[in-house]
Amino acid sequence: MATAEHAATTHQPDRRRYEGIWSWIFTVDHKKIGVMYGVTAVCFFLIGGIEALLIRSQLMFPNGKVVSPDQFNELFTMHGTTMIFLALMPLSVAFFNIVVPLQIGARDVAFPRLNAFSYWVYLFGGLLLNASYLFGGAPNAGWFGYANLTEVPYNHSSYGIDFWILGLQILGVSSMAGAFNFLVTIINARAPGMTFMRMPLFTWMTLVTSFLLILAFPVITVALVELMFDRLFATNFFNPAAGAEPILWQHLFWLFGHPEVYILILPAMGIISDVLPTFARKPLFGYPVVAYSGVAIAFMSWGVWAHHMFSAGLGPVANAVFSVTTMLIAVPTGIKIFNWIGTLWGGSINFKTPLLFALGFIAMFTIGGLSGVMLASPPADWLENDTYFVVAHIHYVLFGGTIFGLFAGIYYWFPKVTGRLLDERLGQIHFWLMLIGMNVTFAGMHVLGMEGMPRRIATYPPGMGWDTWNFIATIGAFTIAVGMLVFIYNFFASVRHGQVAGPDPWDGRTLEWSIPSPPPPYNFARIPIVRARDPFWVQKYGDAGHGHGRVVPMPVAGGAHDAEEARADEHGEGIHMPDPSYYPIVAALGLAVMLAGVILTNLILGNPPGTQPAWPPSWVAFVGLLVFLYGIYGWALEPVSGHSS
């Protein structure tokens, strides 16, 4: 490029170039993308929550008439799909984005534009899924979408299933791109001295989760593509009338679905493994054991899928084998719980909101783990499967576990991102409302399950012994909703008027607390050198844990090798940061339109659901393809202007 452009080399001119909203839309900064992920995920969490409230309102009394049976099927399908794919996973990804580069001493992720692309693909995929409500009906076959209820002969009253198939494929692209990005970032972008066995546990679990994502999403994609071909091109992958075995879908879905459960829980486990040591002022007890048990869980998660199918009639041998593998996975999980308690033991525990949520995680996840063991025994599972017992179990794991873990993370890292603390008093009210609310909602569901109440029924008659617990559960759901209102108020109030946090409000142990809050765009003016696990703690207090804690500069990498770093002063002058780019959002939009093209064409032409694309086939898809190609082309050839000279 011309030398004139080299004058405008640092990040400064870029910030002038895109102000306000555009600085977000074109950003490739991992922290901004993380914030966008977080805010979007919380919005989808609220949508999923409203769906849950409607479900609970319908079931509050016998013979509920709040929604129709078809609407009810749409609501729980979208509740599950939204919470898993649009709320919990992306909220974890928000933390991957915000925290991982800071914890490993990096200036950004390995592929900043790919990171932006992941976000936009996620957003468009989520919007597409929810757009189904506006175009005739949402998906209605459950988040697990068992074939052949999803096939055209049994599901042709709306485009819902098509939206679901294509929305999930789009979200899969986002997850895969993100996972590769974090894998490469964690493997390649660690600061000098940040060995694997010095990485903070959250980064560890991000690494493990990324491997799971990369291996699990191809499985569901295969299943979704087959189902898409069945619906759109009259193939017969799951059509029993043509000799197919619909049970194949169950295998494919759960081969993805069980690793997916650990994709949801491992990041939250990573968060609390960072939160507990900070607030107990002790290192994580059994660090290598906690890290490796996360790896063990990830490996074992591939050998347990058929425990979702104990009632499918797989036969005694398969049932026995999968029962034993499932029970075994409880061992590394238990080890983690004991090590967390070991971390607290002998500590000096500071009861701030992040710690409360972390304790809530351990307490509630233990319940979910125990009911998991109860489900691992096939004869017991034959009594529990497809009843409210399972609803209770997954919510103790995913609400009491994942959501509590994620809220621990929100309260913990909010000051790092915004520079202000969330209000502590409101935070504690939020915590107690959530804890009480979730137990009131879900504890009684164990009873409902054993009393034989099936999942996913839109209504139930009186006299079954289900009335009381359903009523109580609905009260609990609204208690959770009140808790969320407190959180939302706290969020907006604290962003503006919260107490200024400073770089290290919690007396942190890891690198992210060694830099200002909010961090500058380049994160670390100088890349730190890591000499120990919990590097910032050791820097403040020394190895033995003596001395007085204070914020101190981290040692920095030097030598001729890092000539560029050496020139960077404390204000980040001369640090090469990636340029903002609009190609990621263009490519993401093109991809979403391309994949949704079949539905969009049918909608525009007014074809009924299940119509196979006629010539010219799905012309909207070709428009999307062109936009996508333009985005990729421009992306590939985009000039790099940010070289420092």
Binding site: N148, A244, A280, I341, A443, H446, M464, W466, G545
Partner: protein, 354 residues
Amino acid sequence: MAHRSSRRLGKERMASRVHLLRRRPLVWILLAGLLALLISGCGTGPQSALAPAGPVGMREAGLYNLIFWMAVVVFVLVEGLLLFTALRFRRRTSDGIPSQIHGNTRLEIVWTIIPVLILIVIAVPTITTIASASTIPQGPDVLKVTVIGHQWWWEFRYPDLGIVTADEMHIPVGTKVALTVESADVIHSFWVPRLAGKIQAIPRRQNEMWLQGDEIGEFYGQCYQLCGTSHANMRFRVFVQSKADFDAWVKDQQAVPAPPTDPEAAKGAQIFQSKACVGCHTIAGTNAKGTIGPNLTHFGSRTTIAGAMLEKTDANLAMWLHDPPGVKPGSIMPNLGLTDDEIKALVAYLDSLK
């Protein structure tokens, strides 16, 4: 909030902190009360899995109880340890930096081995129970029933007895019943909670299970796998009868019902034969040979209609015939536009089919 005041209380001495746990009996009473409430809520309803009335259900519920109580013990120990640790090591103003302990190998080994031992205690009876539940009894004493799930009703066929019925299964008390569970359309799941565990009805598969009722009475069941709009309305009942009652029922079911003599019922028979009814339903001894809907040969002997969602009364039956999808959303039986007179005649005819 609670811990704040307690922190103030416990400021002075460490001993007083431990004392705190004893000072708070209310918390423990509430927790124990909640647990007791949860446990006592079980085993009372008509569809409870914890009130088994046959050997298969008893073994499964017994295994469930074993695991449940082990889980309760682990729950109390782990949650108690967590609560104790959290309260015991609350930060005090006098706290220095705690000693930076990194781990303890012996403890890691202990808390790896103990869960393994607990799981072995669960795994052994699990595998024996799988074996006994999966060994389908054979022989002349065993009653065979084929269960077929339809959107949204259950069909029961007795291949050795030549009986086809819907929504209500009759079995003799104390007799082993071998079930073959199939589906006519999408995946369903068949479960009578008080008799035996559930099994899915999957197209193109013949899943097998067995059950036995040791108590005479009426047992509720329904579909447990999401199967479409009226998943909630796919219920059925199992009648466990004395051997004599069962034999009498079999004899009735095997007989071809006599043509109606009552004029109203005869009129109904005529309407039935002339309308779309015959396309979907079978009534032995008539031209009605449809197989899409339930076999109505002995409809009059049933106690429920519409996938056991309604008691079979004349008023309910009239309501159903008036507008089936209005009663049972998504019903494949359409609104046939019958007049009130026609409905009255049809009700009389159907009732006569004992």
